[in-house]
Symmetry: C2
Subunit: 342 residues, 2 copies
DNA sequence: CTGAAAGCGCTAACAT
DNA sequence: ATGTTAGCGCTTTCAG
């Protein structure tokens, strides 16, 4: 049993040629380097026989490329992000890239740590759902000419490639839909983060309400309460106080989940007459009673756009083209929860 | 602006000492190597000032360690796996490891490809939800003394560390629960894969049914149909044919989802009188009508056990201790869907 | 107490 | 048409 790890060198020795030649052949430069086709064939066959696979680490160290991408999201266990992760993973794999996923919890220091750590590993590119205050870190990446695409939200003052949905319009449409169905007091429940996606959704809601001569009714849940029972309590209390109990528009999926859980457990009498619309579709929404109307973000389209952009950046890393802002249209999926009240 | 990338060497030059000394200090070997505390302090301060961070790739190439773990699951967008991923990610990060997630789709060649690719990147350890036929690849990893922990399912003929739940008992208990609640014709719906977790669940069901003098009623869905409409049709047809329409026990979460979708859309009249129990809990089960009884796999406990094992393996990679088989108890969460029929 | 030097495995100018 | 050589940035043995 040959214990010696196979390497370029060991192959070269075995075949009595130089490592360079082997390297050229393996990297498809045989033609270009005028290496005889017999030798090429011989090497290829030998390599196939012993199933040699080059050490990627050494290669990366030398070339500066790792063929690894980072996909940093708020929370990989959130179904929106995990579904999207799957789309991206598949595209990346097909193109020879591996993907590292990580969750930043919308926390700046966590984001910065993760970005630093992966930069040191010579990651080739970043797809990032940025936490509120990491403009500086993003800029640093851009300055170093590292491919970055921002997802879901962005910074006005950072000139970066981004893929987002038309949050404001989608929110406007969803609100208008409720209004058209005769709801008058639409509570908009959102978080208190000052990030673009949430502000745009709020804006769309406000505009639709104003245009129809209605009063806005907005509940801000502190971000840190949103995943806790504190969040549910705030929601339930607010709804109990609202007159008339009419409709709710949730600005993001985890608020919806928290609220539905709480309604079911503690105030089932509230949920029945309420109109409900939420951002982010979920496979369970068509099974719930009533089925839930949702603003669906087109995962596959977004994943494709994201990777198209990224692959382009990866190709021509040098050229400083103007960054692109890609806006994907969300779709309102109308189900029972938003039908006109009796 | 100093364009020169900072490296150990550049620091050494700047400070007029050797790279060796810097390396020792940075790796906490100052004491051990009897380096003067003044020098140590000076270096540490300088390094902090210029925010030097060592190139991990070079370090990995030299040491053979990457501080990266792979977590390979069937499908990262499946909520069971993405929730677990989150638990593992957090523990790993706290211990200085990064995690690469990937989905093998329960496909052997995909699994083998992924494992190979990551081996070449000197990944430190693998947590794997194995596809049916990769014993050989797992054995190869073990032979090379690479830390591997199998999750959810395993191979009888591979001597590997594993973390699983008590599938058979959990399944037996869930079936018994239905029987106790007076269900007589319990359809067990599973996939046709021959993997341990599914076989054990089937076994538990059979045993409970047999002990109570009932007839087993088993529906095998081909794995490749399970995520498609073909799967739903098979289920609906089978239930329509079953007399009496009584109860269903789903052996895995995606079957449940598919079936619930289909029932809601095409045969709402069926679902009402049926008793339902499923493997794998979901946050939406307590919101559905009726709420769904589920065998809950304790994610946090599993994640902890998994990482305990992995970290132990990582520490003493040499010693060939007997592999451990850790069995975590699942919990039956009783909700409305399994209450006694009227 | 500190440094020189070898080497992890690969790539790519620069020979020849 | 193929080989020599010099690194990529780090760790670690061995010498002093």
């Amino acid at each position: 049993m040959n214990k010696k790890r196979i390497s370029l060198k060991s192959i070269a020795e075995e075949l009595n040629i130089s490592a360079t030649t082997v390297s050229f052949i393996l990297n498809g430069k045989a033609k270009e380097k005028h290496i005889s086709s017999k030798l090429t064939k011989k090497v290829l066959e030998y390599v196939a026989e012993i199933k040699y696979q080059p050490n990627q680490l050494a290669r990366s160290l030398r070339t500066g490329k790792s063929n690894i991408l980072v996909f940093m999201v708020e929370d990989i266990s959130n179904s929106f992000f995990s579904k999207l992760a799957r789309v991206i993973e598949d595209i990346a794999n097909a193109k020879g890239y591996k993907v590292i996923f990580c969750s930043n919890e919308n926390d700046d220091s966590r984001s910065v740590d993760l970005i630093n750590i992966f930069s040191l590993r010579q990651v080739d590119g970043f797809i990032i759902v940025p936490s509120p205050g990491i403009q500086h870190t993003i800029k640093k990446l851009l300055d170093e000419n590292i491919p970055v695409v921002l997802l879901d939200r962005y910074f006005e003052d950072v000139d970066c490639n981004i893929v987002v949905i038309n949050n404001k319009e989608a929110s406007y449409d969803a609100t208008s839909h409720l209004i058209k169905n005769n709801y008058k007091n639409i509570v908009f429940i959102t978080t208190d983060t000052q990030q673009t996606q949430m502000l745009d959704r709020l804006e769309g809601y406000k505009q639709a309400v104003a245009e129809n001569g209605l009063e806005p009714n907005i509940l801000f849940i502190p971000y840190n309460d949103a995943h806790t029972d504190m969040g549910s309590s705030l929601i339930i209390n607010h709804i109990k106080m609202s007159q008339p109990k009419d409709a709710i528009f949730f600005a993001t999926n985890y608020l919806t989940l928290k609220a539905l859980e709480a309604f079911k457990a503690e105030a089932p009498e509230l949920t029945h007459p309420l109109g409900l619309v939420t951002f982010d579709d979920n496979e369970f929404f068509s099974i719930l009673t009533p089925t839930i109307t949702a603003v669906s973000q087109p995962l596959v389209a977004m994943g494709n756009q994201l990777m198209d952009l990224m692959l382009e950046l990866l190709k021509k890393k040098d050229s400083k083209d103007a960054p692109q802002k890609i806006i994907v249209d969300a779709q309102l999926i109308i189900r029972d929860s938003s039908s006109a009240p009796q």
